[in-house]
Symmetry: C2
Subunit: 339 residues, 2 copies
């Protein structure tokens, strides 16, 4: 069986997770990872057995000085790869586009990039087919991924009149020690809409959706307070069952007594998840409520990892090596997604 | 002019603020305050010149031991008062009801009590008249007060189809060192609805409202992410102007560059507000948005103080000593409400 050769440009929060997830797949392998400068993550890449490429020529010697062995420059990795996953900080992906075009290598970008960097914005559950054979695909952000996974089955089953969501966002990731707020609740952006609503519309162009964003002093996960006005009036139990059937939605059962993001992460650690990642939307079963045609619920979104399986699926889509069902199943099996 | 004699049972977060606000009024004075045990607040009461009464007979000697002079037992204060404001912790107010009945003294309770403790739940802007001459009145909680002040003018001006609000609640007050969460975002309650929606319906019985509550690691203020589906479609500027006309809504202008609760409190301190209190809803002008008939906005609610002017107004209502307009104006002038 031919193994898809995947290069990963950027080996930070997302890149290192995508690398490990790609390596776990039966049909692909990591041709290399690229990084701009040496740090503990660069050392970790080499220790994990990944070929490390320098992303910026002028800084290549810094790796040498840090005693980290390079396999070459990023251009070589891009040339060798069947697909490149760009996991660079927001905005850098767009700068890298010409490099991928130069070598005619299909590329995936992350949700921090503007939608117009790519031919299609991607969520495996919602629009896998649109990315088949595409050259430039943007895997939408963690929050948009979380909303898309939720909206897709609701649209199919009940029809959606309108989505209204308040996104209570973590101020920074656990390692981002320079970010706030401390002890505050900050409307962000204070001017509506937050970018999330328009971003979800890159996946569902005809969807009516308004989103509000805030930042709070938390680092573990985002929390969504979601209202979906449906086109019909199922009872809450029926909606809950529909959501429980979704492979990337973990409907947290009452009996677990998990009350927030802290216990969710504890649970992920107890289950031996790599980096305590929660690839699934974590949605409180108890919160699923219907008032007339208004559905309400809470879901927590792990900002560092929920896009990881989506990146893996997007690799198969752009190489047309599996259909949606097959890819999602393969990814889920390889990562053991679903509790 | 006869000065209304007001007793205040409970001298904690709310009680001490109500005492100071009553003292600032031209038509009322504090006959005394009652407390269950000596602490820094009890000492402060005496220092501020309030007659201090012991709320529990068996603990009266504790005040003696702490060197704090008592004026007597709470029963004497209740007898002497024209109105008692009960500002005891949630649930204690209901226990105290028989005491107030015994002396036939009209009583105000706080929003932590069940609605059925009182004949009427009260918000000055929304239903002042219903409390006129009532014997037992419950001043609704900080969040319900904040929502009621917002909903009342919107109902009058545009009609309200439905309110949907996510309440991002502070975990505890600044001095409540034992409360959480730390670094978490906790749906609370996870089962819908939160009590706030039904509580707002004690003010507007026929209102359609669904609320969701969360707790975050903040202490300064609550934050409301509000959606109101109106019965008409005014533009955002018109709605904003309506809200700017409300005396207890502070529409934060863009030019102030106030981005969250921290800067709001800083502003209150700079303006010399007692205890840096924010009696008004603090509502971001920039956030006021219309999408079709859907209004969205953010407002911050100071949990420790927004009910204070409402308590003052309720004193006038139960004693039928002023109508709504007159009372609200008097209270606002005395406290210098409105920035």
């Amino acid at each position: 069986m031919y193994m898809l050769q995947v290069g990963i440009n950027g080996y930070g929060t997302i890149g290192k997770r995508v690398a490990d997830a790609v390596r776990a797949q039966p049909d692909m392998e990591v041709v290399g990872v690229a990084k701009t400068r040496p740090n503990f993550e660069a050392e970790g890449a080499v220790e994990n057995g990944y070929s490390l490429y320098a992303a910026i020529e002028e800084r290549a010697e810094l790796f040498d000085e840090a005693g980290i062995e390079l396999a070459g420059m990023v251009e070589e990795m891009v040339e060798e790869a069947d697909v490149v996953v760009d996991a660079c900080p927001s905005g850098i992906g767009a700068d890298n586009k010409s490099l991928y075009e130069e070598y005619d290598t299909p590329a995936l970008y992350q949700g921090g990039e503007d939608a117009d960097v790519a031919d299609v914005s991607f969520n495996a559950r919602a629009n896998y087919e649109e990315a088949v054979d595409a050259q430039h695909v943007r895997v939408v952000s963690c929050n948009t991924t979380g909303l898309s996974r939720l909206i897709a089955p609701l649209r199919e089953e009940y029809g959606v009149e309108k989505v209204r969501a308040t996104l209570v966002r973590r101020g920074g990731d656990p390692a981002q020690t320079g970010r706030g707020p401390i002890n505050d609740i900050v409307p962000n952006p204070v001017k509506l809409p937050s970018h999330h609503g328009p971003d979800v519309k890159t996946i569902f162009p005809d969807l009516a959706i308004d989103t509000l964003g805030l930042k709070v002093p938390a680092t573990l996960m985002h929390m969504h307070s979601v209202n979906v006005s449906l086109e019909s009036e199922p009872d809450a139990e029926e909606v809950r069952e529909l959501l429980e059937e979704q492979s990337r939605i973990f409907v947290v059962p009452e009996r677990m007594d998990i009350d927030g993001a802290g216990k969710l992460k504890e649970y992920a650690m107890d289950r031996g998840r790599p980096r305590a990642d929660l690839w699934e939307n974590c949605l409180w079963g108890e919160s699923v409520s219907m008032e007339g045609n208004d559905l309400y619920l809470f879901q927590a979104i792990h900002q560092e990892s929920d896009v990881v399986p989506e990146n893996v699926d997007a690799i198969r889509a752009v190489t047309n090596s599996a259909d949606a069902r097959e890819s999602i199943e393969t990814t889920n099996d390889a990562l053991e997604i679903g509790f």
